[in-house]
Symmetry: C2
C-alpha cells in the first residue's frame, strides 16, 4: 500500500479551504434541507472549548467541573420537562436515546433480561406511529425484539398517531397473550412535524402498564418556549424522553439528551460493574463518577448560560412565528398548496404546482407528475444555490417540500419570501419534457 | 421553577475561565490517568472546523466533501489493517463499535433475527478474555443475549487470553448444543495492555465458523508503526475490528472506527429502509448517501494529512520507546516492582513499595496493605498536581499503577523520570497509621 507523506501547513490550509469551498454552509438561512441548521455561536464556542479540553467525562476526577455542570444542566432540563426527580444522560444521538429508553423499559419489567436475554421473556410488543422515526425499527432489530414485534399505528391527516387505534392495538396484543412493553410517542415527526396526543397516550399507557417513551428529538425544543410549550402537554407523564437540542435549538452536533422518570433505573439497567475502571476506594465522593455520561452537555450549557431561559424562549417564539408566516403565505400564494395545517412543530409542508399543471384533473397520472416535479425543482434550487430544501413522500402523499425552521437569530420574513420566490421561479423552469 | 436569565459576554467568559481553571488539563504529559491524553493539534483544528460546519453527514448532498474524505480515509485504514475490500464506519465509541460487530455477526448467521428477534434463535454464546473490556457484557445485555451467554476465558500472566482455553470452551459449547457466535479478541487490554494471540485465535474461529471481532480500541494504533505493527499480526484475519484513534493516537474524542471484512453486510444488517429520508429519486449517485456515517472522520483525516503515515509511525515509535524506557527503569529502580513484562502495548504496570514495607514477608496482610497504599499515593500525587495516574486491581493482583503512554510530540525520558520520582516521593509520605 502507498505510504502517505505529510504535507506542510500551507499545503494543508490550501487543501482544507478547498474542501470547505465545496462543503454545504449549513449555517445559512437558505439551508433548509434537514432538521438542523444554524449553529448557535455560543454553543459552538462551548464545543470548541470542550474539544480542546478533550475530556471524556468518564469520572469526576477527570472532569470535575464538567461533571457538575452536566448534573446542573440535566436538573434544569428535567424540571423543564416536568420530571424534576428523574435522571438523564447525554447520548450520541436520538437513535441511541431510544435504545436507552427501550432497554430501561425492558429491564424494569423483566430484570432477568440482563442475565438471561430475550429468549427467557414472553413476546414483547412495541408501538409507534406510522409517521415516526425509523430508529424504532432499527432498535427492534438490535435489541433482539425483531421488527415483527413493532406495531405501526395509523396517523390522522395531521400526522398524529390515532390514539383510539393505539388503544385497540394494545388490547389486541394483550388478548393474543403478548406483552405490550412500550409505546413510542412522537413530539415532532420528521416530515410533518406532528405531535402525538401525548396526554391521552400517557393515560392509556398508565392504564395498561405500558412504558411511555416520547421521541421529542425534534419537537422537544418547544419546551423552551413559554408560548408554545403547552403543545407538549403530557410529556411530563412520560417514563422516558429523548430530546436533541442539536436539531431545532441549534446546539452543535451531537447534543442529545435522554431523560428518565425512574431515578436509579438508568444506572441499574446499564451498569456492567467494571470495578477496575470505577474504583470504589477513591478519596472523593464516587457518586459523582457518572461513568457513561459525555461532555456534550457543556456546549449546551454555554448556550443556556449566555441566552438564559428567556433568550431561548424568544428564539423558539421567533422561528415559530416565521413558520406561521410561511404557512400563511403558502396557503394563500398561487401555485402553492399546503399538505397539512395548522402548524404543530415549525415544519411547513407543501407542493409547488407549476402553471402548466394547474386547472387539470388531479388524477393518478397528475400526481405521478407532481411526484417527479418536486425533486426536479429541488435539483434546480440546489444547483443554483438559491435554497437547499427537503422533499419527501409519505404513504398518503406524493413528493412534497418540507421547510423546517430552526433557531436563527437573524432570519426574517423577507428571507421566507425569498425562499418561496426561489421555489416558484425554479418551479416555472421545469419543462414537462424533461421529467 | 426558576426562570434563568442570560449573562453578558464578559460574565460568561469569567465563568468559563473559572470552570477551566478547575478542569483537568488532559493535554499535559503528567496526565496519565486514562487511555487518552494529549490531543493532536491538527486533529483539534479538524474538529473545530467540522463543528463549525455542523454537518451530520447524513447524505452526500449535505456533506459532499466530508463524505468523500471519509470514504478515502476509511479505505486507507482498511488497507492498513489488511482488509482492503472491507467496509467501515465512524461510530460514537468503542462500545458502539462492538455492538456493530455483534449485530453483523448475528445477522450474517441468522438473518431472521432482524424480523423475528432473539426468541427465534438457538442459544448463542460470546467469548472474551477475563481481562477484556466490560463493553461486551453490556452488549450481551442490550442486544438480548443475556450476560450468562458470555464465556470469560482465562488469561496468562501477561494478560493474554489463553487460546487453548478458548478452544476448549468453544468445543464445550458446541457439545452442549449451543451456538458459539463470536469471539472478541483484544488488542490492548485496558489495564495491562495485553494483545491476545490474534493469529491463532483467527484460525481457531475459522475452523469453528465463529465470527472473530478484534477490540483494538487501544492497541490498534500500533498499526500505524512500521516497527510495532507486527504485534497485531492476525488482525487482518478478523471479521470485524474496532479501533479508537482518540485513545493512543490522540485524535480528539470521539473518534472510533468500526471495520468489517464483508462489504455490504454493514448496510444490510443495519438498514431500516427509511425511504422518506434517503430518497431514491435524487439527481446524483445515491451510493454516496452513506446515511449512518458521521463527521468524526474529518479531524482524523486532517491529522493524517498533516503528519502522513510516516509522521504517525514516528509518534507511535516515540511513545513505545518511552514506554520501554519506563519499563526498564521501573524494573531496576529500588522500591518499584513490575506487574508484567515484556511490553505489549505502551502500558507500564507496577507497584511502588514504600521503605517501611520492604524486606517483609509478602503474605496476605502485606498485600492488603499494598492494596491501600497505591490509592493513597495516587491521592497525594493528584492533590499535589504532580501526576495524575491510573491505578487498578486485577483478579490476580492488588491495586497497582498503570502508566499508559499516548502520542505526545514533546514528551521525553526526563519527564518519565520525573513521574517515577513523584511516585517515589509521594510513596514515602504515606504513613502506615493513615491507611
Amino acid at each position: 500500500m502507498t505510504y502517505v507523506q505529510g504535507v506542510n501547513d500551507t499545503e494543508l490550509e490550501k487543501c482544507i479551504r478547498k474542501i470547505l469551498e465545496y462543503s454545504v454552509k449549513t449555517n445559512k438561512a437558505i439551508f433548509k434541507n434537514q432538521l438542523f441548521g444554524c449553529t448557535d455561536p455560543y454553543g459552538l464556542a462551548g464545543a470548541w472549548i470542550s474539544e480542546a479540553f478533550n475530556t471524556g467525562q468518564y469520572t469526576f476526577e477527570v472532569a470535575p467541573a464538567f461533571t457538575l455542570i452536566e448534573l446542573k444542566l440535566l436538573n434544569h432540563i428535567l424540571n423543564l420537562f416536568g420530571i424534576p426527580n428523574g435522571d438523564g444522560i447525554f447520548s450520541p444521538g436520538g437513535s441511541m436515546s431510544l435504545l436507552y429508553g427501550i432497554v430501561a423499559a425492558r429491564y424494569k419489567t423483566f430484570p432477568e433480561v440482563k442475565s438471561k436475554g430475550m429468549r427467557a421473556l414472553p413476546e414483547l410488543i412495541l408501538f409507534t406511529s406510522e409517521d415516526s422515526h425509523y430508529s424504532l425499527r432499527k432498535a427492534a432489530h438490535w435489541l433482539g425484539f425483531g421488527t415483527e414485534s413493532v406495531r405501526y399505528i395509523k396517523t390522522n391527516d395531521r400526522g398524529q398517531m390515532i390514539t383510539s387505534e393505539l388503544a385497540k392495538s394494545i388490547q389486541e396484543e394483550k388478548d393474543a397473550g403478548r406483552h405490550p412493553l412500550l409505546v413510542n410517542g412522537t413530539a415532532g415527526t420528521t416530515v410533518l412535524g406532528a405531535i402525538d396526543e401525548l396526554d391521552e397516550i400517557a393515560d392509556l399507557c398508565k392504564r395498561h402498564g405500558v412504558w411511555f417513551h416520547v421521541d421529542a428529538c425534534w419537537g422537544g425544543s418547544l419546551i423552551l418556549s413559554r408560548k408554545y410549550k403547552n403543545r407538549l402537554k403530557g410529556v411530563e407523564k412520560a417514563d422516558s424522553i429523548s430530546w436533541n437540542p442539536h436539531k431545532m435549538a441549534g446546539a452543535p452536533m451531537q447534543c442529545s439528551a435522554f431523560l428518565i422518570r425512574d431515578k436509579g433505573l438508568l444506572h441499574e439497567a446499564n451498569s456492567a460493574a467494571a470495578k477496575y475502571l470505577f474504583q470504589q476506594d477513591k478519596f472523593y465522593d464516587i457518586s459523582y463518577d457518572t461513568g457513561d455520561k459525555s461532555v456534550d452537555a457543556f456546549k449546551l450549557w454555554v448556550m443556556w448560560k449566555a441566552r438564559g431561559d428567556r433568550g431561548l424562549s424568544q428564539l423558539a417564539d421567533h422561528i415559530m412565528g416565521l413558520a406561521e408566516f410561511c404557512l400563511e403565505t403558502v396557503s394563500s400564494r398561487s401555485g402553492f398548496r399546503l399538505v397539512t395545517a395548522p402548524l404543530q412543530c415549525p415544519n411547513v409542508c407543501f407542493w409547488y404546482i407549476p402553471k402548466f399543471m394547474r386547472g387539470k384533473e388531479e388524477n393518478e397520472a397528475w400526481w405521478e407528475m407532481m411526484h417527479k416535479i418536486t425533486p426536479k425543482i429541488k435539483e434546480l434550487l440546489t444547483l443554483s444555490s438559491r435554497l437547499m430544501v427537503a422533499y419527501s413522500p409519505l404513504p398518503k402523499h406524493k413528493n412534497f417540500f418540507r421547510i423546517a425552521f430552526t433557531f436563527h437569530p437573524v432570519m426574517d420574513e423577507r428571507q421566507v419570501l425569498d425562499m418561496l420566490q426561489a421555489i416558484e421561479e425554479c418551479g416555472e423552469q421545469v419543462k414537462p419534457a424533461t421529467l
